[in-house]
């Protein structure tokens, strides 16, 4: 009797491992890094620091979840960072200088993001520009546009309503963390349970088959880019709220982090793979590493190098695993 129960639980564990290997490894890594750094930096495991790690995570996780859709469908979006820049600076400028009501300002970043996503989608599907080049183009155009609109100044003095998502707390927990949880569960549900999500995997793993099965590939791909854009806009809103200001450097390099977390979280750049939970756990790992390095006063520039190294390692593991699958 006992041995049967044992066997059953081993089988359950094995299937959990097969289905969620990446997530489990990441969870283990987060724990390991937390324990490791807590020996060098006594401030690591305090509740204050853990809350600040969660808050650090929120906007990257939201942007990363958006890009997860694009990556699962076999595309890439390099314009996330500059979308965040344009969405936040335009919104801040309109609400402080041009008397746009705060209610409108709340939806503005998301709308701007969706517009950028639509442009990316149309460029890749209709003009058939590779997504790398198309989104590299939008990156440059948007960065330039933001600099032309705001120049070098920092726009502050935003109304409370606009900064609420990024800087308020419910009890001890920042509101942005709840937003992150909401988007996380929403993305997980969408990817698992809706045809929108399932078609994302279909298109990513075999586009031709998807198209032959009557899935409107072009339209879906455009929507995936728009999802990424919309969530970038939401991330922008939170970031602006946290900093209580916006300038043209606000989103610089965020695309790299967003792509990194989607890939470290199990997303494959060949398409067809990736999960919302994996992405969020990858954000957690990066946030824990960054926090640990900051607390143990390592040169801040190591963070850039470590992010790059993590990407390379994660993608190499993905590539090696893929080769194993094929043979």
């Amino acid at each position: 009797m006992a041995s049967i129960r044992n066997k059953r639980s081993t089988a359950r564990l094995a299937s959990l491992w097969r289905g969620h290997g990446t997530e489990l490894v990441l969870l283990g890594a987060i724990g390991g890094v937390l324990i490791l750094f807590s020996r060098f930096a006594p401030g690591m495991l305090t509740s204050n620091n853990l809350v600040s790690i969660l808050r650090q995570m929120s906007f990257i996780a939201i942007a990363g979840l958006g890009i997860t859709f694009v990556i699962i469908s076999g595309r890439i979006d390099l314009s996330v960072g500059s979308t965040i820049t344009v969405a936040s600076t335009t919104m801040a400028l309109l609400v402080t200088r041009h008397g746009v009501p705060s209610g409108v300002a709340l939806v503005l970043p998301v709308l701007i993001g969706m517009m950028v996503g639509m442009i990316n989608g149309l460029l890749t599907t209709k003009a058939r520009v590779t997504s790398v080049i198309a989104t590299l183009g939008t990156l440059i155009a948007l960065d330039g546009a933001a600099k032309l609109i705001v120049g070098g100044e920092t726009i502050a003095g935003l109304p409370k309503v606009v900064t609420y998502l990024g800087s308020s707390k419910l009890g001890p927990v920042p509101v942005s963390v709840f937003v992150m949880l909401f988007v996380w569960f929403g993305a997980e549900f969408t990817l698992r349970k809706t045809s929108f999500g399932r078609n994302c995997y279909h298109i990513g793993s075999n586009e031709q088959a998807a198209s032959l099965n009557g899935i409107a590939v072009d339209r879906y791909v455009t929507w995936f880019f728009m999802t990424a854009g919309a969530l970038s806009g939401l991330a922008a809103l939170i970031l602006v709220g946290r900093l209580r200001s916006a300038n043209v450097d606000i989103g610089v390099g965020l695309e790299l982090q967003a792509i990194a977390v989607a890939v470290i979280g199990g997303g494959s750049l060949f398409g067809g793979k990736g999960t919302a939970t994996g992405t969020v756990f990858a954000v957690g790992l990066m946030a824990v590493i960054n926090s640990g390095m900051r607390l143990s006063s390592v040169n801040v520039y190591w963070q850039t190098a470590v992010t790059g190294a993590l990407i390379v390692v994660a993608v190499s593991i993905d590539a090696i695993r893929r080769r194993g699958d094929r043979s």
Binding site: A141, G144, I259, F270, V306, V315, A319
Partner: protein, 335 residues
């Protein structure tokens, strides 16, 4: 009364222009027409543009660094590869070279050797990741972009390292006759690369791998080793371009050459080399680098905002890629 042109003459002229255009497109030399148009346009909008002084000492000298990188980039793109790490490569190799020269008392030769070795190491890492581990080139080199830039910042901080020896500065600022030294370096790199592509296995195999990797492998080409070699050559050329750039600027800095990868890729793509691999239009890439240089310089002289210049160059690049896609669709090679 002057004789009026008949509609027939007009038609003939249009047809002539049309066939000239087709000829240029077919031979992949459209880029020189674009350069010519850009030069005319720039001299119309800015009176200071069309002087010998400006064209040689500024435009060509500035284009040379991007040009040298884009010659190497052409080889890698010909194999259906990609390299986003070239800007960071320059930052890391040049700032370490500058630190060795100013703080450790290394000679110029030693400094340059170390810079080139760093470039080779970055290229080799990219190559192994792409060829052996089969990471998509785009993401492998994106990771490397971040690693190399981070290391450059760790070693050199954000302050420029200057007070470099005169012989190093001469590499970027010197002249032979009326030709700036960097332009001669570009010409040399171009000629050697053109020879490699036409007459050696190293170059021929790049095209073979890019147009049909499996076919090349089945024909006995050591695809992986050649692929790595192509990335190493690009890494070394990039580091060399960095040395020239450091000489021209008089200092190296961990934040230098940000976005250079974009300019180099734009030059290659605008020059007519397809991102789908199998082609290496070296003359086009050099022309592309000059086109980018002409636009940048001319618009700057007209004091157009740098951001607008980037937007314009980005638009030219995206248009070229779209043009390439359409050309392939029409040629039936892309469904």
């Amino acid at each position: 009364m002057t004789p009026r042109r008949s509609p027939k003459d007009d038609k003939r002229a249009t047809r002539l222009a049309g066939s000239l255009l087709r000829l240029l497109v077919r031979r992949g030399q459209l880029i020189w027409l674009m350069v010519a148009v850009a030069v005319v346009a720039m001299s119309l909008i800015s009176p200071h543009f069309l002087t010998v002084e400006n064209l040689f000492t500024n435009v060509l000298r500035q284009s040379a660094v991007v040009g040298i990188v884009s010659v190497g980039m052409t080889l890698v793109i010909a194999t259906r590869g990609f390299d986003l790490s070239v800007g960071s490569n320059i930052a890391l190799s040049s700032s370490i070279m500058a630190l060795l020269l100013t703080e450790s008392g290394a000679t110029v030769i030693e400094g340059i050797a170390v810079a080139l070795a760093i470039g080779a190491a970055i290229g080799a890492t990219n190559g192994v990741l792409v060829a052996k581990i089969r990471v998509p080139p785009f993401i492998a080199t994106l990771g490397m972009l971040s690693i190399a830039r981070g290391l450059a910042l760790v070693f050199a901080g954000t302050t420029p390292v200057d007070l470099l020896p005169q012989s190093l500065l001469d590499l970027g600022r010197g002249k032979v006759g009326f030709l700036p030294l960097p332009v001669l370096f570009l010409a040399g790199t171009w000629l050697v690369a053109a020879y490699l592509v036409k007459h050696t296995r190293f170059g021929r195999y790049a095209l073979a791998i890019g147009s049909n990797e499996e076919g090349a492998r089945l024909s006995g080409v050591k695809v992986d080793s050649y692929r790595i070699a192509h990335y190493v050559v690009l890494g070394v050329l990039t580091a060399a371009a960095g040395v020239v750039l450091t000489g021209r600027l008089g200092a190296a800095q961990a934040t230098m050459a940000v976005g250079l990868e974009f300019q180099a890729i734009a030059a290659v793509v605008v020059g007519g080399t397809s991102l789908f691999g199998g082609e290496a239009k070296l003359a086009g890439s050099v022309g592309g680098a000059i086109l980018v240089g002409v636009l940048r310089n001319g618009l700057l002289l007209r004091s157009v905002d740098t951001n607008w210049i980037n937007i314009i160059i980005g638009a030219v690049m995206v248009a070229s890629v779209a043009f390439d896609g359409l050309r392939r669709i029409r040629a039936g090679r892309l469904s």
